[in-house]
Amino acid sequence: MSSLNVGMSVAVRALDELPAEQQAVYRARYVADEARELTCIRLGIAPERYDQLLKDTMRSLRTMVAASTHQMAKA
């Protein structure tokens, strides 16, 4: 695969580069379509922790997008 757009690469890379807890929530929510309550039970975390991990994930993804696009601009 020689040509991918940056947005796709960011989403895919996130699966491997996020911290473990964020990755687990990210994968459950956006890949497996698992309900929040079910994920909380499966991972043994409180709903508040789930919400915080999701927010942290959004911020991590924003940083990844910015890093990728800026890297491209320099290329």
Partner: protein, 145 residues
């Protein structure tokens, strides 16, 4: 919106090359991720006293960032129905977030405009389905929750 396409063999370091496909993500998941990203950004922008306000404002002022995110959900032709479904799940939050982003970052390469039209919001501005006062009312409702 110009596509952000690069030749990964020439422009991107080896450790950034992605060999797995976007197909790993569910269609609904991609729509939901985009909606939640916009809501998260709008939430930060709605709170100037927030510690993340400045960095968020800088992020949305770079049209490449939103354009890149829009491309995550544009990667499949099946995404529009999924976005519409997700939109129906969280209509008020998404409308407010899009309106807020449109005011805060006027240059998104057309991607956000296309997205808004695809979920039945028409375009932002004079022909928008949301007037300024409606948007502000809804924003107050959402952020009061």
């Amino acid at each position: 919106m110009p596509k952000i396409v690069t030749d990964f063999d020439n422009d991107v370091p080896a450790d950034k090359i992605v060999t797995d496909g976007i197909d790993a993500f569910s269609e609904r998941g991609r729509g939901l991720m985009f909606i939640e990203m916009i809501a998260d950004v709008a939430g930060d922008l709605a709170a100037p006293e927030s510690e993340h306000y400045s960095e968020t404002l800088a992020w949305v002022k770079d049209p490449l960032n939103l354009a890149a995110w829009v491309q995550i959900v544009e990667a499949s032709p099946a995404i529009v129905p999924s976005l519409q479904e997700a939109f129906l799940e969280r209509p008020a939050e998404l409308k407010v977030a899009c309106e807020h982003l449109s005011r805060s970052a006027s240059r998104t390469g057309g991607g956000l405009e296309r997205f808004m039209r695809s979920v039945g919001m028409h375009s932002y501005g004079g022909s928008s389905s949301l007037g300024e006062s409606d948007a502000m009312d809804e924003m107050a409702d959402v952020y009061a929750l």
